[in-house]
Amino acid sequence: TDMVMTNEVATSHWKTQYMKEVGEAIKKKTDGEINPIVFPSGQIYSDQDALAALGTGAVQMVWPVSVRLETIDQRAGVLSLPFTLKTADMQKACYRQQVSDLLTSFVDKRNLKVLTLLRAADLIFLFGDKNIDSLQDMHGVKVRVIGGKVYLATMQATGANPISMAASEMSTALAQGTIDGVLSSAAGWADMLGTSAQYGFYVPGFELATYAVVVDKGWFDALSDKDAAIVRNSVEDIADDQWTSTVKKDQKLIEEMESKGSTYTVADDAEIQRWRDKMQPVIDRFDADHPGVVEKFKALDSACQ
């Protein structure tokens, strides 16, 4: 049977390549019993639409940015809280599994299942012609952020003016100075914004964005134990490699941008601490709105084997 997988990034993006690899692995290991088809670059669905199509039979698997799950259950926002998710922890399969299970517990009544999490990006601030590299400088600058309540609250806490803007307008807006900056990724810098963003600023640990590998739970549960294991393992195999290799890929992209004359600043420890202190209220507020969720997250065992 066909297994439809969709994404909204370009065919050249590594996400499409990983998706194809997962598809091929599943096809091979099930002897073609499951026939995955990948539709990249929003050909048939945007990630949000694909998420809504899970459970109708039109799509079986999609890898949206985890923040999209907030539109289904706001507790999923815990992953977007600043200084919460850590790359070193997520590189361990057993820890990733616990985080995925936590997410699944928020959405399984909606007939969705999160198989694993992939690394999307360490978010960085990209500025047009302002070299902003401290919390102080953030005050009053216009920064475009993607949707999601937690991101919005986080941006507000930095003192910047968060701007909501369609992705299609972002690149022009930055180039023409309509906005001062965007919160984006190394890939976004290299592929979409290019040299119209002259300055990059990274606060380590601030925001680690992830892709949630979401499947139609009804479809997944109906698979034979063998096939279900194959699907799960094929994705997990990719995740293992992906959590380390994309860190390097991003580093390379940033070096490329530097070689094109852009400036890239990484916050030092003292600066990071200032950011941490400033962000604490966002976490407290989330904790008050969704009692117990932060606690559950902190209780996950990062020392697991």
Binding site: T1, D2, V4, I37, F39, S41, G42, Q43, I44, Y45, S46, D49, A52, A53, T56, G57, A58, M165, A166, S168, E169, S171, T172, A173, Q176, G177, T178
Partner: protein
């Protein structure tokens, strides 16, 4: 095979007078139900998301801006201004009409909008000066097409939102090709007027009249400057500028020229919405077609076919132009873009054609499609305004086809024309 049957069915349904949106949607919906594992819900989801797109929001607002300027007789203002200088040559009024089309194209986003505005303002005058009706209707229909090549342009917005290209860059890319086309059209109008001794000639250029009219026209002349300026000055995004254009047009008509009463604004808004609905309905049908082509793997197969043929870029572009010209007979500009863009852009990429250049080629073809019978909106509109049958308008347009084709070839094979200003 299924696809061929579906295509034939589409042509039959179009021929019996079914609405284009229904034909596209219904045939696709039929296909959806034949593909195993594709639930009917995709029809609803695709129809919904097809118009749930931020860049496309510029369409109703540019349509509204265009309608307001039409109601406010802004076209007449331009024609009087330009006419005071140009009327002294043979075919002066016809040339004035063509020059006014160029100006109006710079404030209106649509081909039909431009043609209607210029047509309403000039057809009677042209007839009075003994220009044959078919020629008068023809030049307005052809001149109107510049509306989608000169920014702002609904077609570039459509392509930008369907394919994901920056609209501001597309706008800039259209400028030089549009100037080329405008020059070609002006020369043809001058030549035809001279050859057939059309129209009357004023004694001398009326510089005094020009000077007197200029201050009055200033606010209208500023419109393209403000539109482009507010994008490149970093004040507004390309989509937001459409709302500004509508507001500025309303301001001009009601307060500056007082040619429109506040109540007429309401009517203009209602009509603009209906015209938008027409465009969006075709977009909706087209997205359904695009969905099923992608889902059935037709798009992917075509891409691998083209790749395996190892076509040179020029061969590919030649094929595409022939295809678009043929399709353009049966489809209108909007439908043409909506139906072919999702398929052709990935192909163009595989043969190494710059997507922005390709967008300009596609818009040049949509311009021609709008004046190619049997389905050509500008022909229909001018038939209504000039009160003459559609085939008469087509007769008036006929001499312009050759020059349009030459311009199309230049645009196709000189990428620099589209890319130089970027």
């Amino acid at each position: 095979m299924t696809i061929v049957i579906a295509l034939c069915l589409m042509l039959v349904l179009l021929a019996i007078g079914t609405h284009v949106a229904v034909v596209l949607g219904l045939v696709t919906a039929g296909l959806v139900l034949t593909v195993a594992g594709v639930p009917a819900t995709v029809i609803a989801q695709t129809a919904f998301k097809s118009v749930n797109s931020y860049p496309m929001l510029a369409i109703p607002m540019f349509v509204l801006a265009g309608n307001l300027m039409m109601k406010g007789d802004l076209a007449k203002l331009m024609i009087d201004l330009i006419g005071s200088l140009v009327r002294s040559v043979r075919g002066g009024l016809a040339i004035t009409v063509m020059l006014s089309s160029v100006f109006f194209a710079a404030v209106s986003g649509s081909s039909v909008g431009s043609a209607a505005a210029i047509g309403v303002a000039t057809i009677d005058g042209l007839k009075k000066e003994r220009y044959p009706t078919h020629f008068a209707a023809g030049i307005v229909a052809v001149g109107g097409t510049l509306g989608i090549m000169i920014p702002p342009s609904l077609s570039f917005i459509l392509i930008g939102s369907i394919v994901g290209l920056p609209v501001d860059q597309l706008f800039v890319a259209g400028i030089l090709p549009a100037l080329l086309e405008a020059t070609c059209l002006l020369c043809t109008v001058a030549y035809l007027s001279w050859k057939h001794q059309y129209g009357e000639i004023a004694a001398a250029p009326d510089f005094k009249g020009f000077g007197q009219r200029l201050p009055g026209a200033f606010a209208a002349l500023m419109m393209p400057v403000l539109i482009i300026g507010s994008i490149y000055g970093g004040y507004l995004t390309p989509t937001e500028v459409s709302a500004f254009a509508a507001a500025y047009a309303a301001f001009l008509c009601v307060f500056v020229y007082r040619s429109v009463r506040a109540g007429d604004l309401w009517d203009a808004a209602r009509n603009s919405l209906l015209q938008t609905t027409m465009i969006f309905a075709v977009v909706m049908g087209g997205s359904l077609v695009a969905f099923i082509l992608a889902r059935m793997g037709v798009s992917a197969n075509l891409i691998s076919l083209i790749t395996s043929l190892d076509l040179a870029a020029w061969q590919f572009l030649l094929i595409v132009n022939v295809l678009l010209l043929v399709l353009g007979m049966f489809l209108d500009g909007v439908a043409l873009v909506v139906l072919t863009a999702p398929l052709l852009f990935p192909l163009a990429k595989t043969v190494g054609v710059d997507p922005i250049h390709f967008a300009v080629i596609m818009v040049a073809n949509s311009e021609i499609a709008t004046i190619t019978p049997p389905v050509g909106l500008n022909l229909f509109v001018m038939s209504g305004i000039a009160k003459t049958p559609v085939h008469e308008v087509a007769r008036g347009v006929l001499p312009f086809y050759a020059i349009r084709l030459v311009a199309l070839l230049i645009i196709t094979f000189v990428p620099a024309l589209s890319l130089a200003l970027l």
